[in-house]
Symmetry: C2
Subunit: 324 residues, 2 copies
């Protein structure tokens, strides 16, 4: 993704002063937290990594970054995130919760039920970690779009406790959300100001509940494995294109196909590549058919159960970027 992808001709973002924002935030964080310890749950996304780095800059070794491995991350992602955090000199704890997340998602097919189950398990896991560590402060990467969409009732963001009527006190911690008035392009400007590696500052957005909402219907470990492979192919094959998000979705519906001359009632993968500045609206990208053909061939050849690839041609609105 090129450096100036977000250097758009937009007054609002050009007027944003990332340096001033960082200075002001460091003061605020210090004045709220004082000499207490803080946990920051870092998924490796732009938002949570930026807030983690910001709090780290404010309070140094008093910050503990926590990476919860929910088993729903892209291939190689857990190692990537932990390495980045270590390279930034941030205290990091890795929590293996793969089995617990799969268990909690079992049998759930409705999009909102899945998001809620994920969020619940996420906060329970995080609450356990906070208790074990004896830490009462939690930093979160909530941004303006999360709040806006939660208020409008479009989706339940797992990191906007207050908006969805959950009292942070019931989980036993205090929330710090320094990015909550920023939009995505501004968060990236802050990430650049903090000199985070490009792999983070220019990273495409990734949903809180991770791959669980890209497996339509019930989530199983087999389905997650299929989706990981498809995701990797989509990311690799479209890397020459400047997109806001590029990903694969595994349907619960099946379709007929032919593999090795025999009928196979197999899986369907949808490819989604969108342009967007702030995730509030998005445009389905008109990527070349040559590229689509290559993706379709690779996915159906390399993943035995997949017989069909679709390309999402819907803008947001009326669709959302993600499927669930």
């Amino acid at each position: 993704m090129s450096d100036n992808f977000y250097k758009v001709q937009d007054k609002k973002y050009l007027m944003f002063n990332a340096k001033g924002f960082v200075e002001k935030s460091l003061e605020e964080i210090k004045s709220i937290v004082r000499d207490n310890k803080v946990v920051s749950a870092c998924s490796g996304g732009v938002d949570s990594t930026t807030v983690t780095a910001l709090v780290h800059k404010a309070i140094g070794q008093n910050l503990l970054a926590v990476f919860i491995d929910d088993g729903l991350r892209r291939e190689g992602e857990p190692e990537f995130v932990v390495n980045i955090l270590k390279s930034l000199g941030i205290n990091t704890r890795f929590v293996d919760a793969k089995k617990e997340f799969l268990d909690t998602l079992k049998g759930k097919t409705d999009a909102e039920d899945k998001r809620k189950a994920f969020r619940d398990k996420f906060y329970k896991t995080l609450g356990r970690v906070l208790k074990e560590e004896g830490i009462k402060y939690l930093a979160q990467g909530t941004i303006a779009a999360d709040i806006k969409e939660t208020v409008q009732g479009i989706k339940t963001q797992h990191n906007v406790l207050e908006q969805i009527g959950i009292d942070p006190e019931t989980y036993g911690y205090n929330i710090i959300e320094p990015l909550k008035e920023l939009y995505k392009p501004e968060v990236r400007m802050v990430a650049r100001e903090l000199e985070l590696p490009k792999e983070i500052s220019e990273r495409m957005p990734f949903p809180g509940p991770a791959l669980s909402i890209r497996v339509l219907g019930e989530v199983t470990s087999e389905k997650i494995d299929i989706l990981k492979k498809a995701t990797k192919i989509v990311e690799e094959e479209t890397k020459g294109i400047e997109a806001f998000q590029r990903f694969a979705v595994l349907h619960s519906d099946k379709a007929t196909g032919i593999k090795q001359g025999k009928r196979l009632y197999g899986n369907i993968i949808t490819v989604r590549v969108v342009k967007s500045r702030d995730a509030i609206t998005a445009k389905a990208m008109e990527i070349p058919y040559e590229m689509l053909n290559k993706i379709s061939k690779k996915i159906t050849e390399e993943i035995p159960s997949v017989v069909r690839c679709l390309y999402d041609i819907t803008d947001k609105p009326p669709a959302t970027i993600e499927f669930e």
Copy 2:
């Protein structure tokens, strides 16, 4: 569709002598049927209408065409077919079996179960008509591709009784299948030779079980209504393109979207447009994005429950043309 769409540079089809085929078939049909009456179940597709016209040419008023309205046809289709048959001077009986077909499909979600349920209901309905009419001969539009694919186990064709091990005798009738050695381009040449209207001879193929296999998962009348609207939009918007088939599919999976500023967990429609000569292989067409955008907009605007449109980018193989 242009006149010479099937006048491909293919020796096999260029060597086919439609005039000779018709002459030979008329003789054969007369010698088999003699002065018995024959029923031809005519769906309005190229195959069944061609065989109906062929048998009519052979035995005239001894043929009774039967149109079974299964409630799964495209918008305006039952009226269209009955009018064509009447205009050709063919005795026609219209059978309203809409409720029976919906009932038999109720609760069935597997592709093959649905095809079997459809086929069973189709033959039971046809058997009842034959009994009521006291007719023992049945003409069918089976073509070579049906037999080839049934033998390979790719799908169960509802009009290839013997291949799938159903003894025609258990249904109580004798089968006449004059087209069973022809491929689609040859059937069209026969249709032209018989001077059928272009709306028939150049008509795109339509599956035996009709829209039931384009509603993924369980079929309901509400879903059929949604699919009929989407189908009409796809057909209208792509009519400038020379395609072998163009259609819409309604998924059972749902996806999130936004309508009138509110979250809607709504329906997904896939658009499929393929090039093919004989249905044995097919190529997903690279139709212009401008057209895809217009289709996506129309479908999501005109059908309240639909929030997302996908375009099928898979060739056959590894996909089939239809989804079930």
